[in-house]
Point group: C5
Amino acid sequence: MDITTIAGILLAIASILGGQALEGGHVGSIMQGTAAIIVFGGTIGAVMVAFPLKDFLRGLKLAKAAFSDKKVNLGALAKTIVELAGVAPRDGVLALESRLAGIEDPFLRKALQFIVDGVDAGVARGALQTTIDAEFEEMAVGAKVFESAGGFAPTVGILGAVLGLIHVMENLSDPSKLGGGIATAFVATVYGVGAANLLFLPMANKIKRKLVLERERKTLIAEGVLAIQEGLNPRVLEEKLAAYTGEHGGSEPAAAGKE
Amino acid sequence: MDITTIAGILLAIASILGGQALEGGHVGSIMQGTAAIIVFGGTIGAVMVAFPLKDFLRGLKLAKAAFSDKKVNLGALAKTIVELAGVAPRDGVLALESRLAGIEDPFLRKALQFIVDGVDAGVARGALQTTIDAEFEEMAVGAKVFESAGGFAPTVGILGAVLGLIHVMENLSDPSKLGGGIATAFVATVYGVGAANLLFLPMANKIKRKLVLERERKTLIAEGVLAIQEGLNPRVLEEKLAAYTGEHGGSEPAAAGKE
Amino acid sequence: MDITTIAGILLAIASILGGQALEGGHVGSIMQGTAAIIVFGGTIGAVMVAFPLKDFLRGLKLAKAAFSDKKVNLGALAKTIVELAGVAPRDGVLALESRLAGIEDPFLRKALQFIVDGVDAGVARGALQTTIDAEFEEMAVGAKVFESAGGFAPTVGILGAVLGLIHVMENLSDPSKLGGGIATAFVATVYGVGAANLLFLPMANKIKRKLVLERERKTLIAEGVLAIQEGLNPRVLEEKLAAYTGEHGGSEPAAAGKE
Amino acid sequence: MDITTIAGILLAIASILGGQALEGGHVGSIMQGTAAIIVFGGTIGAVMVAFPLKDFLRGLKLAKAAFSDKKVNLGALAKTIVELAGVAPRDGVLALESRLAGIEDPFLRKALQFIVDGVDAGVARGALQTTIDAEFEEMAVGAKVFESAGGFAPTVGILGAVLGLIHVMENLSDPSKLGGGIATAFVATVYGVGAANLLFLPMANKIKRKLVLERERKTLIAEGVLAIQEGLNPRVLEEKLAAYTGEHGGSEPAAAGKE
Amino acid sequence: MDITTIAGILLAIASILGGQALEGGHVGSIMQGTAAIIVFGGTIGAVMVAFPLKDFLRGLKLAKAAFSDKKVNLGALAKTIVELAGVAPRDGVLALESRLAGIEDPFLRKALQFIVDGVDAGVARGALQTTIDAEFEEMAVGAKVFESAGGFAPTVGILGAVLGLIHVMENLSDPSKLGGGIATAFVATVYGVGAANLLFLPMANKIKRKLVLERERKTLIAEGVLAIQEGLNPRVLEEKLAAYTGEHGGSEPAAAGKE
């Protein structure tokens, strides 16, 4: 459960509806089925035109990623890799193979499999890099589905508002309905701007950020395993991986040194 | 038939006109020949100024790409290439040549022809890469025709609205026509904003995405064929291509390993 | 004569003025000297501040490029280069020199001169690449003059409109002049938005596109001539250049092969 | 204390409220709790949805960076490094180690530790570069929290304004409340636009700029220490580092030359 | 004196105020101290928050660069370098040193000093490139101060307008003051939009362009001097530098050839 996503949506909605209520407006006046149909139907339609089916479905699936929270411990991961780096020179590649079954992370297992299979270092580096990039690009398209929805929603909202105003203009002869008609027209703007800025765009941002963090995690794995293959000293590998785990700058390198 | 393009357009139009009807507006009031002439004539004119004839026509042709759906099976393609990789070392380049006729994909055939002709690996890589990039750039200009239309349409719509308002302002003396005149003016905004956000921009996005997918497919072919030329082991090639076919991360590399 | 530029401008203006006329407005009401002075004077002034004199003049000269149409036959150019590639190994560099006079294209002649002069391949590549890039960058600044005008015109138009509205507001006491005053104010918006979206921005786009095509043509020349210098086989060179001439993908490479 | 941040905020607020007061408006009319709740609650909510908790908290911490002023003396830093470069060849690596304790800057100490530990130059360069890049990327996400707030605040402000206008429109029957209602609605716009343009966006810019300066400082350290490891002559190193310390172009290189 | 900057500002202001006067408005109605305080105070405040003091001051100093005109003769500079290239092989490095005093350009002198000092070619290239890049980046931040002012001014102007409108709305009961009040409110928009589009943004563009030209000039110097160090033939160097001096494409290379 990603607490900031849930709390953020609740806080935003509570602030806006609460503020609205405090000013004397009642929430009912911004609950309008037709405005919702125009804005959400139009936005979903535009997004469907904008993406192939596969990307559209991937986007829907990624929505979950904005709400779920996968704890990632880069420090522990680096420690596992450093520990594996000690296995290879001591006990040979076969010992590494026996460890494979106990590794949960599929990408780490896949990378280690390259060593066990004796795949050429250049080919392994290329394949791991391509896998990381291709997966990121692919997933990022899913995040773009939300970004795209955040781009279309306000303009569809304005479309709804203008259509409402046209309707109002045609009935200017009855001034008593004027205000209510304009109010109705404005609700479409509220829906479009609100959905884009409180939901679609922030969600797109959070999904993209999580994809970047996942790519960093995989890059740490790839660099670590390729260093094992090169036979890098575990202590030096530890230094190398520290750069990826966020223990930057302020860390006390003295603890690692003193050999 | 690209189902999301068709369904998306239908959904967007149905939602907006349906919502409009539910609010009591009749569709007739947003059907206006003159607004259509201003918005679409102005937009097409601006796009014609913006692009050379060749690009403009390519853009029109690419519109079809947004509606058609070419099934691409990267897995099967990778399998074909891996299978061809087994032919070369076993039966020699001549055997590869005899296979050429049976290959439907023109780019795969072209790439294999380089091996059969014994073209230098560096030259072949350069030529394939340049072909992929040049074709992508060229096609992407076609997609930009729609992006450009999506940029001009709303401003031309606003131009139409302002012109309409000027006309209204000059006839302020007859207030009974006021509302109707403003309504007419707003229709140009609806056409401009609507055409851009429900048609032009989403179509540009879908076309661009399809071009990216096609470039990925060709890159897979180029990398695969160049690896055949280098004499890469088919099993390692399979690993290498798996990175391009989207069978990332979660795949069980164990099945491919165990040597 | 670039037919799309001429036809596009005519179509856009005819559509907008025609639509305006069909709605009952008369063209005279949007013909206003003062609005034109504000918008075009202000825009030209802003563009002059934004660019050094040399760039500003280059931009004015480049305007012609948007209207003229230089036919470029990349296929014929590639053929000429391939034919020249056959001259060098057969008849020596002197034979190539005797051909120089007959070559019209100054860039091709310049590139060949490097071979004739026996300039080092690395230096020649560097000089040709720098020439192509520097010329493109320099010309692109000229295109940016129009892009910049397209950016300033609408805001200057809005400035004119607000100034007009201020004038109107000060004379609210005479309501009979109200509508006409507002109409006048709006004309500045029409001029600014119209000039930007029907003229400046599309022209900037067309000029930039033509510069890109010219850069591609020069890159083809450079790559071809450098390959001649390297002594690349004319048949392989033909393959290599085909990637630049737009005969991609669907071409039948079988015709070129079969050696 | 970053004086421009404090002075800038004070100047902006004083100018705007002072101008407002001079025009006869009283500050009280733009002090509205409900508008503040809508704008700040909505913005904070949107930002929370947009970022993982860790990034959000890092953003809050970075706010301090916009107000504090860390004096950085690149010249003195370069001098220290040049002086250390003289230690290594003269007294050996052990002498360098004895200096470590006296160095306050943790990044400089970390980099020197690599030399003392005898880490391979390629690995040291890679680790230092990765550390610099990773730290910058990580911190830049914190700056993006403010940039993001600056993007959401005006739209949430407009949302508040539209909601207020809807409320006003529903009460058109009581014209006496009209003006006050609209005024209230506009306050949300003032809060959203003001917070974004006087606080969030400028702060994001200042934080980013400080991160860039910090990255430059660390790059100077990394380049300097790696040059020590390579055994570069201290006098040449001085020249090299001068390029990073901002003593460019106009400096009198004669002083350093004349050997 | 940069004539386009002066002439551009005069033309823009004359066009707008002249047009305004022709429409019957008097300039006095857009002269308002309070609006100026709000817009310029708010903008300067926002820019101060956005930049460290050093960058802010550098921006103020760079303003001068938009108005001054430093004539740069790249052709003469290239000629000087080619002539110096003839000195080195003929008379040795010492002869080059004797020339140093006569060279006015500090960057050229600095680059030549590297040769005279016998600094390693790789180190010299690195130091010159770093100097050019670092100086450009540093100066570009100064240009961004204006770009930033151009971004904040219109929004602060709108802020002033909305504040003015709030004041107007609260005094709706006195309709006679309505128009004048709104007019006053609009003046802030005029100031914000005008200052940004006629001053800040065009000036930022001109400064940036001049920085790019200066970077090109320094790159020509660096490439030329490094080629002297490599011992490149003066005639080939002339060819090489011609690519930087803007004598591209259409130049008659025959004059340089014919060896």
